[in-house]
């Protein structure tokens, strides 16, 4: 009886064995773990730059002569052939599941990235949680050749500082494969991608003869029309963009009061709501922004404990935020003519019938779309002290 049961189970188990996808054993020390991938456009196809971990260098705790990463550069007619061609120069199997950041050269992005995205979504080894950044005014190859401080692996640096700046500098967004593809596919919204720039400043290096004066910095956002890069938002415009879509992290904001008192705020939370409205088939969008801030520093003698002063500060902040929003709107609407805010989508959701008519001519309609702002600001906390430190009490 038991034997019969066992016999019945064995084929079931065996069938299960063959029902899985691909699996194969590979030891960690036979893998070349790719952390960062750079793609540039060349005349005959793509130029791939791969940053691969060098575990030997990482294993030695301090003072290693070897570099923490190894670069592999290869050309190919398409991405896959270029990636595979690296096998001819690498003793280890390329392992792509841990790619954190994909850097796209600016000239490539201007020509369109649809083909690349299809590859990344289709290929099983790539996950969808890595971030895309654009090498602004340079090539991906150049960006990946810069070694970075603090984080020994440059790819990890790119990844962490992107997340960090999204959280504490509020105006760069980290965008992964799924976000990017979704905003390309959706009607009435166009994607943006953060840009990365090579900067060189004197005074970075402590040593005289050191030549790592070049650093990488995230600057601005690249604006897309469909899958092609068409222009850049400046820092102020990027700020406005984030206020409108309600995705500002812990950003810094400051206002001047009476030309001499500078008050610095930290944005705690900023949310926005886009509401479409329609009058005589003429759509318009209301953007409601709710921002709460904390006071971080008061330079001057303004008594921020007084309600009337706070009211003035609020008004100043509201004006300032509105200014940023309008700047961003103007740039996107008039200059670049790309609906990065997703206004079209908002109208689509509320007035599906109207959208059918607008859909074909949205690119021209969008430029004329009136946008109204309603900004409410709340000052929450004043930090550990209340009145400005050096304010003299009136006697």
């Amino acid at each position: 009886m038991i034997l019969m049961k066992a016999k019945a189970i064995i084929p079931v188990l065996l069938m299960m064995l063959f029902c899985t996808g691909c699996w194969s054993s590979r030891e960690i020390n036979t893998l070349a773990i790719t952390i960062c991938l750079g793609i540039d456009k060349t005349d005959e196809g793509y130029l791939i730059t791969k940053q691969v971990l060098n575990p030997t260098a990482l294993a030695m705790q301090k003072g290693s002569d070897e570099d923490p990463v190894v670069l592999f550069v290869q050309k190919g007619e398409n991405l896959f052939s270029a990636l595979r061609k690296i096998a001819t120069e690498s003793p280890r199997k390329m392992y792509n599941s841990h790619v954190r950041v994909v850097v796209l050269g600016e000239n490539l992005v201007r020509e369109g990235i649809k083909g690349i995205l299809d590859f990344f979504m289709r290929e099983h080894e790539f996950r969808t949680d890595f971030y895309y950044v654009i090498a602004k005014n340079t090539t991906a190859n150049e960006v990946l050749r810069i070694f970075t401080p603090l984080e020994s692996v440059p790819g990890v640096k790119l990844y962490l500082s992107l997340e960090n700046s999204e959280r504490y500098w509020g105006i760069t967004s980290a965008i992964n494969s799924i976000d990017l593809v979704q905003s390309i596919l959706a009607d009435g919204i166009n994607p943006v991608l953060p840009g990365i720039e090579i900067i060189s400043k004197a005074g970075y290096s402590e040593m005289e003869n050191s030549n790592d004066e070049k650093r990488l910095q995230y600057t601005g956002m690249g604006v897309f029309q469909e899958d092609k890069l068409i222009g850049w938002l400046s820092e102020d415009e990027a700020k406005g963009y984030h206020y409108i879509i309600g995705d500002v992290g812990n950003y810094v904001e400051q206002v001047y009061y009476n030309e001499r008192d500078q008050i610095t705020f930290e944005v705690r939370n900023s949310q926005s709501k886009m509401i479409a409205s329609c009058k005589d088939d003429k759509p318009s969008v209301y953007v409601e922004i709710e921002t709460s801030l904390n006071i971080v520093a008061v330079e001057g003698v303004l008594d921020i404990t007084k309600q009337e002063n706070r009211k003035v500060l609020k008004e100043l902040l509201e004006k300032r935020i509105k200014l940023f929003c309008e700047k961003a709107q103007k740039k996107a609407q008039q200059e670049l003519r790309s609906d990065i805010f997703g206004f079209g989508e908002v109208i689509h959701r509320k007035y599906p019938k109207l959208w059918k008519k607008l859909k074909e001519s949205w690119d021209t309609e969008y430029v004329k779309l009136p946008v109204h702002y309603n900004i409410t600001v709340e000052i929450k906390q004043a930090g550990q002290i209340s009145k400005p430190l050096f304010m003299k009490e009136k006697k």
């Binding site: 188990l13 299960m16 064995l17 899985t20 699996w23 194969s24 054993s25 590979r26 030891e27 960690i28 020390n29 893998l31 773990i33 952390i35 971990l53 575990p55 030997t56 990482l58 294993a59 392992y95 599941s97 841990h98 954190r100 080894e125 996950r127 692996v153 990890v156 990844y159």
Partner: protein
């Protein structure tokens, strides 16, 4: 030995003539027969009893010197000489009734007329009186109770709670439990198992709390055991186990009388075996192997926390090495990147594949553990030095194995020691190797196949007809006040696990301290 063997064979089909099995009337014939049957063994002592030096022997006392208590024998001799003074009539023979009357009410008496019973009595340490002219014998228990005194158990230590442990003496062990349950419903049945060893086996249960069917089943199974020797409770366990191929223990062995008492109160049956300090309780459930008697001596929140730790340790022991193998050789993508980077850095230069590395280190640990138990106590510290330094530090520094695997093995090892029952810990450690092989061949997929098979196996197991995973599968509501959680005593109203007989309730009447604070007096 020929006759002995024949006499002790239980299901002997040969009909032995009555004259051969029963005592003779003649005293000397009887004595010679006994002496011959014991092969003139030197410790068989025969004292003949005469009225005076010239008269013939009318009575003889027989005992095996090594088995009896000398003091008891001495006092018995005094009593016999009292009889001599009292009954000084110089008779030819001492009537059986007189002797019996002399002792009755003072000593526990047993009489019989067969050699087979006589030998059994002699061998259990009784003194046997043979009378001239009588075909009966009288036996008086005089066995020696010497042995280890009650000590702290060596394998089940507790911080709080009774520190008495069982000894090798079955009567002592029964006493230790009886002391804890002073109820006339506590029942004890004596059985003897093993054709040669004639080991005393005690079956203890509480009437009405234990299910009759379970008691009957255990009794029947023990009676069916046909073997020449029972030297430890494990013999019984192996003979009467439900699934004899399973590595998982289905009898809970305990060294602590309080654990046995609490098991009895839950409706279990305790099996005492003479000669071992381990008492078996059955039916035993999977979850109970992860319970400790200390769970009930601490606050219920603390006890629940400790229980959770043990459940976590259980899974760590079982799965940590296999998950490491699977992730390091198949599923590198599920690690966070920084962790992968540090593992990759550690693995650099290690000559073995991860699976082999894990297998080597796990085996090394098993050898260390085994050596730690077997070797003389005095060289105990040596093994820890060798183990910690040579195998841990030196091997990592030499680059033969990675530091990660040392951490993995240590976690496994320490977790396995957190499982309170040693047999269960062994079973898990053995299963772990199967999981490691599965992980080494097909990765996490293999581990999950293993988990499915293991779960099916555990569901199939039974302990004396009770499903092993009770009260989880089948789900029993009352049992779950005491499986993963240890509920407060006032919540555990019914006996757990659904194993109990008619007496289901544990508590009755009012609680001493009520929830309603008004009812309680406040003193200031």
């Amino acid at each position: 030995m020929g006759i002995l063997g024949r006499v002790f064979r239980r299901k002997s089909k040969k009909q032995i003539p009555q004259s051969d099995t029963h005592l003779y009337r003649d005293l000397l014939t009887n004595i010679t027969r006994v002496k011959n049957d014991f092969g003139q063994s030197d410790d068989l002592t025969v004292n003949s009893f005469k009225w005076n030096d010239s008269s013939p022997s009318i009575c003889a006392s027989l005992y095996i010197k090594s088995l009896v208590n000398t003091e008891t024998i001495n006092s018995l001799s005094e009593e016999i000489s009292n009889l001599k003074i009292k009954d000084n009539k110089s008779r030819q023979a001492l009537p059986f009734d007189v002797l019996r009357a002399h002792f009755s009410g003072v000593r526990t008496l047993k009489e019989g007329d067969k050699y087979i019973d006589l030998y059994a009595d002699l061998l259990s340490g009784n003194t046997v009186f043979l009378l001239h002219g009588s075909r009966q014998y009288l036996s008086i228990p005089t066995e020696s109770t010497e042995g280890r005194s009650v000590e702290e158990p060596s394998s089940q230590t507790v911080i709080r709670g009774p520190k008495e442990g069982f000894t090798e003496n079955i009567n002592q062990n029964i006493l230790l439990v009886r002391k804890r349950i002073k109820s006339n419903t506590l029942r004890l049945e004596n059985l003897s198992v093993g054709n040669l060893t004639r080991t005393a086996v005690g079956l203890m249960y509480i009437k009405n709390i234990a299910k009759d069917s379970i008691v009957r089943e255990i009794r029947d199974r023990i009676k069916k055991i046909e073997t020449d020797s029972i030297l430890e409770g494990a013999y019984i366990e192996e003979w009467i186990k439900d699934d004899r191929y399973s590595v998982f223990p289905t009898f809970l062995s305990s060294e602590k009388p309080d654990s046995v008492a609490s098991a009895l109160l839950e409706g279990k049956v305790a099996i005492f075996t003479d000669g071992t300090p381990y008492v078996l309780t059955a039916p035993a459930l999977m979850v109970e192997f992860l319970h400790s008697s200390e769970d009930y001596y601490h606050h219920y929140i603390i006890a629940t926390m400790m229980r959770f730790l043990r459940f976590i340790a259980f899974f760590l022991t079982l799965l940590v090495p296999s998950f490491y193998i699977a992730i390091a050789t198949f599923h590198q993508e599920i690690l966070p990147t920084p962790l992968l980077v540090s593992i990759a850095a550690q693995r650099e230069g290690v000559p073995f594949p991860t699976f082999l590395e894990a297998l080597i280190m796990e085996n090394t640990f098993e050898i260390l553990r085994e050596a730690g138990i077997r070797m003389p106590r005095a060289i105990g510290p040596a093994i820890s030095i060798v183990g910690a330094l040579v195998l841990g530090q030196a091997a990592v520094e030499a680059g033969i194995i990675s530091a990660v695997i040392v951490i993995i093995v240590s976690i496994t090892a320490i977790s396995s020691f957190a499982i309170p029952n040693y047999e269960m810990a062994n079973a898990i450690r053995a299963t772990r190797f199967a999981f490691m092989i599965l992980a080494g061949v097909i990765g996490i997929y293999g581990i999950f196949i293993g988990i499915i098979v293991l779960t099916l196996h555990l569901c199939k197991l039974k302990s004396i007809g009770v499903p092993y995973l009770t009260p989880i599968a089948p789900w029993i509501k009352d049992g779950n006040t005491d499986t993963f959680f240890r509920f407060p005593f006032w919540v555990m109203k019914n006996r757990p696990f659904g194993l109990h007989g008619d007496d289901k309730r544990r508590i009755g009447g009012e609680y001493t301290v009520r929830k309603n604070k008004k009812g309680n007096q406040e003193f200031r």
